[in-house]
Subunit: 253 residues, 2 copies
């Protein structure tokens, strides 16, 4: 039985607590957060505390807090035998190096509290300060996910950057698409099957192979028609993305 | 019974011919293309011809050809009683105005010949030169799709532009994400559940509400770390997208 304490009460902590609370051979002993109101949602699945001095003894402390408080809260942990983990995509392993046993447990997903997830399908990227800890961490992660990857701190930094491109930036392009629709009294629903198919294609093609559109074809007439109806700031974005497609796919094809 | 002739043998023509060949009260009388080898795949579902002088008489001629040959091929059609349609997102209705009855039948999807689609789920945007033709066109489109929209030529131009943002440009961001993974020996599969969830969120949130990430939080440390590991061209793209998120969401929230 692995005894677990989770520190944090945000989206990541919420989904991790749910998944581990029903995992085999794991006991979720406690959830910590400094704000009592944030702990209400956890009370049905584990004991909670707002006091770091009252932390239960555990085998694993999983810090699922904001990037900029990980080091500070870790500095207040006193159990030096346990494995101490953080869940951040962009914080180095070394921030935990005052602990003999430390590692990273980074689930690659965008979580919302309201939306249920199937943790078994969520990729979890692992790193630890020793081969032995990494092996233990793999067993621990396998309790809730089928998709375990070994990713070191440098790779994780790049992975987090790639995630910004495919998640944050694409979502912003959806915003701009929705705005163009709104301005022209067109339902954004018309574009949703297209958006879904763009993603479905990734199952059978690389994105390089799946690329289509006026930029790829160098269809100057259509590009000119599009630029003519865009406001200056979006024109700039359209041009730089068109150029990027032409350079990237021209180089690769 | 509506008698139909399809002109074209590309991806759009292929999926339209399949869908209409099994639609109730529609008879796919013929498929035209100037290259006989392109017609082979159609022989099992309809008679074919490579000669515009041999076109069958029909109620509807559906021109699913490349944008730049629509006007030329339409100019060679002689049946002035029929309804003549094109399928382009970016060509004006007026290109067909030598016909008494003309319209646009624009399916908003990215088609691949190999990949089956459920046409019932594909939004079809309709426009016609008269209210009567538009009503007829709605009945005709409903034979294969449940998602019928009235969209005029100006709206369609904007819709096509929005489609470039949400399909071509997002796919390019997937390419860049995949490239960052490749350069760092990370499996792109790690990002696929995240990509899928980004799309799934659009079912319950607007993209504006769904926006997350360092740009939105104005997390300068993370942004600086990301810029430090990007090559100059991608830095430029990262900066302009970050700025665009901050301006767009800052203005709206």
């Amino acid at each position: 039985m692995i005894n677990l304490v989770i520190l944090g009460a945000g989206n990541v902590a919420t989904h991790l607590a749910k998944a581990f609370s029903i995992a085999e051979n794991v006991k979720l002993k406690q959830v910590y957060n400094h704000r009592p109101e944030n702990l209400l949602a956890f009370k049905s699945i584990a004991p909670t505390t707002t006091d770091l001095n009252q932390l239960e003894k555990a085998d694993v402390y999983l810090i699922a807090l904001k990037d900029d408080v990980i080091a500070e809260v870790a500095g207040l942990l006193t159990d030096n035998a346990a494995l101490v983990l953080h869940t951040s995509g962009s914080v180095h392993l070394d921030v935990l190096n005052r602990f003999k046993n430390h590692g990273v447990f980074y689930p690659v997903q965008t979580f919302s509290k309201k939306k249920e997830v199937n943790f078994r399908e969520i990729p979890v990227c692992l790193e630890a300060n020793s081969a032995k800890n990494l092996e233990f961490l793999e067993e621990f992660a396998a309790k809730i996910s089928n998709k375990i990857y070994r990713i070191d701190s440098n790779q994780r930094k790049s992975l987090h950057l790639a995630a910004v491109f495919v998640n944050n930036f694409t979502n912003h392009l959806y915003s701009l698409g929705a705005e163009i629709c709104r301005e022209n009294e067109i339902s954004f629903d018309i574009l949703k099957p297209l958006i879904r198919e763009t993603v479905d294609k990734l199952e059978s093609l690389t994105p390089l192979e799946a690329q289509t559109g006026p930029a790829l074809r160098d269809d100057k007439q259509t590009i000119a028609r599009h630029l003519a109806i865009l406001e200056p700031k979006r024109q700039k974005l359209y041009k730089i993305l068109t150029q990027s497609i032409q350079e990237f796919n021209g180089k690769k094809l």
